[in-house]
Each structure stands twice: as C-alpha cells, then as structure tokens.
C-alpha cells in the first residue's frame, strides 16, 4: 500500500471510471471555497449535477416550456413527449415492467408518504404489524409511526448485528403472520450497509405481506432491477443521483397501485368531474395531481442517461475501491470509531465516524474551512444514533467524481482538526 500512497497520480488509475473526464462535466467541482478547492464529500445528502442535466433544464425553459397532457399546441406536445419519455427512461433504468408503474414524486419522502397514506390506510388494521429496520431514515420511519398510531398497529424492528447488518435469522422470526408490510432501506445512509432485499422480500411474501424499499441511497449507486429483487414498492430521489432537486420516483407493482385510492386530488388525476363526484384517471396519472415538476422531470432523463453511459457496475466498482481506500486510511487515526460493515463489498460509499471527544459539528466546521464538505449530525436517523450511543456522527460519502487524492485531503484535514481542537487523539 505504501508505494501507492506515495503517488497520488497512480491511485486514480485504480478507478474503473475516467475521473478526470467526469470531473470536467461538473462545473461546481472547479469552485473554490475560501480560496481552497472544493472537496465535495456530502453525496449522500445530495449529489452534484453534470452540465448535461443543467443544460437540459435550461434548454427546456428556453425552447419548449409548456404545461403537459392537455395542451394541443406544439410546445405542449413537445413537453408532453419529453415528460412521458422520461417515464420510459426510468422504466428501463430500474427494469420495471410497464411505464404506468412509474410515478413522479418530489422525492423519496413523498413516495413513502404516498404509500403509507393510501395503501397503508386501506390495508393496515388494528393489531397488524409494520416491520422496519433500526437504520431507517426518518422518512421511512415517521410515516409508519403515524399510520401505526392511527390504525392501532404495531411497529416491529428488525435486529442488527455488531457490524450493522440485518440479522436475517431474527428477521425470519420477526416477519410473521401479522406483518402487513416490511419497509426497509436498501442502503443505509449512515452505516452504508447494503440490505438483502430479495431475501427480505421472500420472507414478507411468504407471510402475505408486501415490501417497500427505500432506494434513496441504493438506486444512485448500484444496478437494481425491481423485478429481480421482487419488491412491491421502491422509492428514490433524483437529486441524489445527478438529477435536479424536486423530483423523485415511486415505482409500484401495477396491481397494487391499481387497487390504491389516489393520494392528492386535482387537475390531471381525474377522468371526469361533476359537482359532487369524480372518476379518477388511469395509472400513473391517478397519482400525479396538479401540474407536475415538468422541467426537472425532463432534465432527470439526462441524469439517468449519464449514469447508464458510465455503467452502474463501474460506478459501483469505483465506490467500492474508494471506500476501501478511505476505510484503510481512516483506520490509521487513533481514537477513531467507524460504523458499519468492514468489508467495502458489503456497503456503499458512505462512511460514518467519530474522532473521540470531537463533536461531529466541530469536525464538520473545521473541515469546511479547509474546503471539504462532509455532513455532521444525526443524518435523519436519530433512533440509530441512540442504538450507536452517539449524539451524531461525521459522514463522508462518495460519488463518481471523487478521487483518492480527495480522501488524502480529508485525512490531512482531520489531523488538522485534531490539533485545532487541542486534542491528542492522533500522534
């Protein structure tokens, strides 16, 4: 390892991606922060956007901005074709059977709320159980808490191993006859853990339950097939995968979506309306009330295309390697606690850690002053923080444009932080 560490240039050659070329596509990476080059390691919060996405957005507003679906004029026809075309792009990307299973939302949070308050209200009865993992993001926890309270249903939590993986033996017992739904993240935004969705889906289906997958962290970083994993719902956010803010996708199995009542009511989701009563539109429009986020949906197509061109297997490989390198380097620091699986193959490119005695907020601040953007806090996972017995963690998360050199810069800054805080953890 030592020789590689000495020559940062050669480290990049280890990547399955052409990082230099990729970085040129992201204008923000040329930005300086207080005179220092930006090192963006907050990708689990939101990713940066390539020019192709920014330009597509701009082009939409400069060339064919119009409201969709009901318009008969040229602009509206063009916008509708592009908007609906993106649905097909998504379908292919996640390997869904039909485009009518693709619902555009604002993001993962809205997707999960949609399911909890339509499917949930229809199907969860008093005494029923909703099974969650202890590593769920608040967005995949609080909607179920509220549903459980309303329905007098019970939340059941899966168990984690010491390395932060779901204990599948316990899961086989916890997912039982009263389970109506298993709602679980495919990749933890704190631990990085990749959960075995297919096995969990099998356990759920055996009990006649369904499974909802929070794909916020997984879909941007690895190839998924909703059919392969045999999920019933998958929700994810475009802003975490090179797309603009304000768009997400909820995919659901057609038969389940068909049986659900609508979520919001208004224009576009109706078939016909009289003063007292309305008939609702077909899938997917039944779930898309009002003017959608047309521009951002259309621009999202460029994000999907960018990732597909790189190849999701290359994206994943790059992240495994940079995570492996970062884990190794971080372990050099005395008094550091790193959470989640040790094997980079078993996790995503998200590393949460604490440097003894230094509050993550202080770390985050000092790193920011060095131009390095990481996240610090509870990462919307307060129950997990409690389980880990910490107030919060510092979190570095990688994406397709991050280099091994940036990991080195992180390390240097962490050492500097140690000094600033008058701490003696590292010698």
């Amino acid at each position: 390892m030592a020789t590689i560490l000495d020559k940062p240039e050669t480290k990049e050659a280890m990547s399955s991606l052409n990082l230099e070329k990729i970085r040129r596509d992201f204008p923000i990476l040329r930005r300086e922060v207080d005179g220092k080059r930006l090192v963006y390691l907050d990708n689990a919060a939101t990713s940066q956007k390539p020019l192709s996405v920014i330009n597509k957005l701009s082009e939409y507003y400069q060339r064919y901005n119009a409201n969709v679906h009901r318009g008969i004029h040229t602009l509206s026809e063009e916008a509708t074709a592009m908007y609906e075309g993106t649905r097909e792009t998504v379908r292919r990307f996640i390997d869904a059977k039909e485009t009518c299973e693709i619902i555009f939302t604002r993001g993962t949070t809205e997707g999960i709320n949609l399911v909890a308050s339509t499917w949930g209200k229809q199907n969860v009865l008093p005494g029923d159980e909703i099974v969650l993992s202890p590593m769920e993001h608040h967005s995949n926890l609080v909607p179920w808490q509220v549903l459980a309270q309303e329905r007098e249903a019970k939340l059941v939590f899966l168990e984690l191993t010491a390395e932060g993986e779901i204990d599948m033996e316990a899961a086989a017992k916890l997912i039982g006859a009263r389970t109506r739904i298993v709602a679980v993240t495919q990749m933890s935004n704190v631990l990085g853990t990749i959960n075995p969705i297919k096995e969990l889906a099998a356990l759920a289906h055996k009990q006649g339950a369904i499974i909802l997958v929070d794909g916020a962290q997984s879909v941007p970083h690895m190839q998924i097939s909703v059919q392969e994993m045999d999920a019933d719902f998958v929700a994810f956010s475009l802003h975490k995968m090179l797309g603009p803010t304000g768009v997400g996708v909820l995919w659901g199995k057609k038969d389940i979506l068909k049986a659900m009542p609508p979520y919001m009511y208004g224009g576009d989701m109706i078939a016909s309306v009289s003063r007292e009563r309305s008939r609702y539109n077909e899938l997917p429009w039944k779930f898309e009330a009002g003017t959608p986020n047309i521009g951002d949906v259309i621009a999202s197509a460029a994000a999907f295309e960018y990732l597909s061109e790189l190849g999701l297997e290359n994206v994943r490989e790059h992240e495994v390697e940079i995570t492996r390198y970062a884990l190794n380097r971080l372990r050099e620091i005395n008094g550091i606690a790193i959470y989640g699986p040790k094997d980079p193959q078993k996790r995503g490119g998200v590393i949460s850690f604490n440097m003894k005695d230094i509050h993550p907020h202080d770390l985050g601040q000092i790193l920011s002053d060095a131009g390095i953007a990481i996240r610090a806090g509870h990462h919307c996972c307060q129950p997990l923080m409690k389980d880990l017995q910490v107030m919060g963690t510092a979190r570095a998360s990688f994406y397709i444009y991050n280099t091994f050199e940036e990991v080195d810069m992180l390390l240097a800054a962490l050492r500097e932080a140690d000094k600033v805080m008058g701490n003696v953890a590292y010698r």
Binding site: R70, I72, E77, T80, I270, A271, S272, N281, E282
Partner: protein
Amino acid sequence: MSLTDDLYRETILDHYHNPRNQGKIEDASAEVEGVNPLCGDELTLFLKLNDQGIVEDIKMNAHGCSINTASGSMMSEAVLGQSLEKAREIIESFKNMMLTKGEELPLDEELEDLEALRGVKKYPVRIKCALLPWNTLLEGLEAAEKKCCQHS
C-alpha cells in the same frame, strides 16, 4: 398550412360534417359510453348483433372534435355488416396504424377511408381523439357478445 391541410383532408371533413350512423338503437345488444379524460369528449355507442354474431346495426351519439367524429363515422361504416371476428380485426389494424412508430403498413383496400386518419399521428394528443370510438367499440363488442351468449 400544410399540416392543417393534411389533417383536415377532405375525407375527414366530409365525415365530420356528415357523420354516418348517428343516433340511437332502441333494442341494442349493447350500449356503452366512452370518455376522453384529457378533453372531456364523450360518446355513446349502440350496437346490435344478430344471431350469427354479425354487426347488424351500429349508431353513435357523439359531441366531439372533427377527428373524433370522423373517426367514429368511418368506423361505423367499416364494421357495419361484419362478423364479430372481422370487426375485431379491423379495430386491431386501425389501432396498429395509429400506435406503431417506424415502418408504416398500409391498411387493407376496403379500409381506404381510414387512411385519412394517418395524418393524426403527427399530433400525439389527438391520437386519443381518433381512438376513442374504437376503444368504446371494443368494449361494446364484448358486452354485446356476452349478452348474445346469455341468450343462447
């Protein structure tokens, strides 16, 4: 105005201004309604099948745009007197013409009038207008067939 001319070819305008088979059938084998959610256009279709499953009569009550009205009118002419099976074939080839992209297969000679609607493909929103009568007919045939079977 070439596109417009294309779209509003003589045939279409003829059927639009003088739609065939308008009205009601009192003793219909099936009566079905169709609606286009995008524009609110509605259509009531009446069908009468005889014992051999032949479309003996077809009538429509529609207030639609020119495409919708002309498409319904042409449709009624195309399926009147045809067997259930043949009617479904015609529907199939028409829908094919309207929905397939790429290579364009001409319709059978006896359906020549319908060729006039091919120009609508340039206007994706209006494909729904052209298809409404046909989708309604599909439903109607099914309902009528069920009824006939119950009779026998």
